[in-house]
Amino acid sequence: MNALPCTIYVSFTGALLALVLGSRSAMAARVVALLTALTAWGITLAAATSFVPMAGLQELVNVPWIPEFGIHYHLAVDGISLTLLVLTGLAATAGILFSWNITERTGEFFALYLALIGGVYGVFLSADAFVLFVFYEIAIVPKYFLIAKWGSTNREYGAMKLVLYSFAGSALVLAGLLWAYAAGHATGFGFTELVAATGRLDLTSQTGILALVFLGFATLAGMFPMHTWAPTGHVAAPTGASMLLAGVVMKLGAYGCLRVALPLSPAAFVLLQPWIAWLAIIGIIYAGFVALVQDDFKFVIGYSSVSHMGFVLLGLAAANPVAVSGAVLQMFSHGVIAGLLFAVVGRMVYERTHTRQLADLRALPLHRLLPFAAVVFVLAGLASMGLPGFSGFPAELTILIGTWQARPLWALAAAAGVLIAAAFTLRVIAVAFFSRTGPEREVPVAPAASHPLAPITWPEKVGALLLLGATIYLGLSPDTLLDWIRPALQSPAFHAILSGGAS
């Protein structure tokens, strides 16, 4: 439990080590990266086993940092952050396994990768808005280089767009928080102090602050219409980075919305609530339709992430304990599922066939050439469709129940999103993996099919099984996470905002 801050330090140390050792041996860098990720993940799991769910944050570290501004290096954890810490550990480990084949400047790659992970751990552990902000900014830099140097199609553009949006989002957050701090005469950047400071202002200022902070974080979570960076960036990124970016880094935004933005001002939130909810719903449906017409396999997955994050934002907007617990569950679930989907598309398929165009993949009998990838993708696709038995189902069901308690009409609109998700997922499963079937149509041999594709390697298999195991385990036993999340929502910080609704 008290070892949790070590996840940050271990990751940064690992990054340094990978950089140093990587200049001599690529394999050393890989092993260091894997061991680092496993250690950090192990720390989160160990903390999870001894975790006692309770309302409110449990202190880890609290030392003055810049006392002049009341800034503390303050780390703390509750059920929500623990859920996301475990997700980070899992996604990081799987991401490294899927980056095993990186040969170009391996040391640098893993150094940046681990630095990104360290920043992410830091954000989830922060209990001080300033510290959270610092860790967030630390995480932005590696994102740029990972995409721009190791990415694929249109990588400079994708990297630049992603980073500009990230900075824009964080600038909005910063502006909002500084407004609250300055105008409200806050004594520090602790979450409770900022809430108190905001409370001292009039409703117009409160609304302005909440709008800025929420919009800033929601941009990072891919809320419509500020979502366009997400598909472009995630498609351009190398597989391991796509997995981490879509799986975990998008959650930073949603986490910020929940942890920092929502509690700021209940009065202002009531005004903004319908706007947030409708933007989330438009995101679910619009991104779903866009995913339905993509020609690039990876873009389908990119847009599906936006659609699924819409469910998270809708759960937050519904603002009752049931919906928000569903939203946190969906964050975890989507982290795992998006990781799997990107892994199959980016690593298993693209790096063997060298094409992501659905039209080209249609010509390949991929279910026969890559049966393992086909099975993994089918299972991941089913999970992504929200089929029961996988983690997406309890998450979306909980969100729907909570949303219904808030506004039945929102739930109705979101249910249409479930249907669209089924349509685009089924389409890519059918087109990409199972388009050439039947013995009579086997005859013409496509050039790529004439020489067999490289077999699926062990790191890929282990990574895929880890993620699949997680989504199925949670699908059958969502209580594991909900038991952490629900008590955390009883905390006084959320009390005013999460009023109403049965729990």
């Binding site: 069901l397 909980t398 129940i401 219904w404 249910a415 249907l419 388009s435 039947g438 969502p478």
Partner: protein, 506 residues
């Protein structure tokens, strides 16, 4: 064996078989990979008979129940149970699935994977018939789509890709609203348990919790839509003919024999008990839709030249009778208990009988297709009876069973339905006879064009049934006779249940 886990065993034995086949697919010799699925599939019949032995027809509540907490955060329970209705459908599954596998497994590519998918489908269907909590029920309901999708797509005919996609999208489209309906029910009532929800509905507490206005109606419509697509209720049936026609024979047999019952079962187990008042209010228009299904699908079948599509439309027609009876009961309320009992018994018997006759017919069309090199048009055959008397005899019995000839099983269900509907909504019964007429016409056309006349097309030198095919068809035909002559064998299982239903009508 612990008596309390019989139902779990029923559901999961096929799944265990599926897992085994999938894991061992590379190492199994071909012979074994063809027989193992049949063996695992047969487990349902054996365990179903064990359940039949333990079943007490006089008890109208649920028996052999298992109830374990599953997800505390959502008050979800792993709740299984069995009454006469479920038992009849479990037995039907136990009869059709092994025969469908046994009769078709010789000619199937990748028999191990095919068998695994088929067993997965079978277990899911059993789960749907036995689960009493929405969460596990929906797990089985949705998971059944996955193997069905792949069975149709990978082993189906030339149009299979489109048919499979359409089938799944239609069904998921319905299910999304079904899911939303139950999310809303849970949001208000705090439980997913069908029995508790039905109790709440009976006491009026559910209506009070849902409040007034538009939304209770919307919840009802959502659930209705999910089930109506599955049955299918006219006009949500467009997915069915292509899916049934493109599926490989064994899958068609299962789809029509078992899977089509899932929707009708949902109407009886979920929609009717939980939403008695909204169903009563909506029953008038729904009765017209069911009538539309009866009449239009019969005439559509009459127009088909593809035999498989013809049988598929006849499935829509036969299942619409079940809905017709149910809606007639819901519309008229407790006015005429005798007619109500008759209509409801007829519905359940019809579910079973249609399963038998339609599965047998799909198998016969499969035999025709395999002899004709994939052709199955009405005009592709002629004079098959002279060349293949055994086939003609067995197929003829299946045709006449489907047509509802007295003495065969199909008659009993339809007779009881008509007897009941005449008592409740005479005009509906009168219009539905049009469907009977058209059914007789197209089934007789099938019989005449294919089996009579001079040998023509693929009918020339038609090879008669071999041992496997005879072994597949004979149990169907035997049951048609047995249940036609002794319908009380089946009716005895459901009579007390149906009488209670009729007595407790709101």
């Amino acid at each position: 064996m612990n008596p309390s886990c019989l139902l779990t065993l029923l559901i999961f034995t096929p799944w265990a078989g599926a897992l085994l086949l999938f894991v061992l697919r590379r190492w199994l010799p071909v012979g074994l990979s063809r027989t193992l699925p049949v063996v695992f599939s047969l487990s349902t019949l054996i365990l179903g008979l064990v359940a039949l032995g333990r079943f007490d027809p006089a008890v109208t509540g649920l028996q052999l129940t298992e109830n374990q907490p599953w997800i505390r955060a959502l008050n979800v329970h792993y709740h299984l149970g069995l009454d006469g209705l479920s038992l009849v459908l479990v037995l039907l599954t136990g009869i059709i699935s092994p025969l469908a596998l046994f009769g078709t497994t010789r000619s199937i590519r990748c028999p191990a994977i095919h068998g695994a998918l088929f067993l997965l489908l079978q277990g899911s269907a059993l789960g749907v018939f036995l689960a009493l909590d929405f969460f596990p029920w929906f797990v089985f309901w949705e998971l059944s789509l996955v193997p069905a999708f792949f069975l149709i797509k990978l082993w189906g005919g030339p149009g299979a890709a489109r048919a499979a996609y359409q089938f799944v999208i239609y069904t998921i489209g319905g299910s999304a609203f079904l899911l939303l309906g139950f999310a809303a029910l849970y949001a208000n009532a705090g439980t997913f348990d069908f029995i508790q929800l039905a109790d709440l509905a009976r006491s009026g507490a559910l209506a009070a919790k849902l409040g007034g206005g538009f939304w209770p109606q919307a919840i009802f419509l959502g659930v209705l839509l999910g089930l109506a697509v599955k049955v299918p209720l006219f006009p949500f049936h467009a997915w069915l003919p292509p899916a049934y026609a493109e599926a490989p024979t064994g899958t068609s047999m299962f789809l029509t024999g078992v899977m089509s019952k899932m929707g009708a079962y949902g109407f009886l187990r979920i929609l009717w008990p939980i939403f008695p008042a909204p169903l009563h209010a909506a029953a008038g228009p729904l009765l017209w839709l069911a009538l539309g299904g009866v009449v239009f699908s019969a005439f559509a079948a009459l127009k088909q030249t593809d035999l498989k599509r013809m049988v598929a439309y006849s499935s829509v027609n036969h299942l619409s009778y079940c809905l017709l009876a149910l809606f007639a009961v819901a519309a008229s309320g407790p006015s005429n208990p005798a007619a109500t009992t008759s209509a409801l018994s007829g519905t359940i018997l019809q579910l079973f009988n249609h399963g038998l006759s339609a599965a047998a017919l799909f198998f016969c069309v499969g035999v025709l297709e395999s002899r004709a090199g994939g052709l199955r048009g009405l005009g592709d055959f002629g004079g098959v009876r002279t060349a293949a008397p055994v086939f003609a005899g067995l197929c003829g019995i299946a045709l006449f069973s489907s047509l509802g000839l007295p003495g065969l099983n199909g008659f009993v269900g339809e007779f009881l339905i008509f007897r009941g509907v005449f008592g409740l909504a005479p005009w509906a019964a009168a219009i539905a006879t049009l469907g009977l007429l058209a059914t007789a016409l197209f089934l007789l056309t099938f019989w005449q064009r294919v089996f009579h006349g001079p040998a023509a097309g693929a009918g020339v030198n038609f090879r008669d049934l071999d041992a496997t095919e005879i072994v597949t068809l004979v149990p169907f035909v035997a049951l048609m006779f047995v249940l036609g002559i002794f319908p009380q064998l089946l009716a005895g299982l459901i009579n007390p249940l149906v009488t209670t239903w009729a007595a407790t009508l709101p």
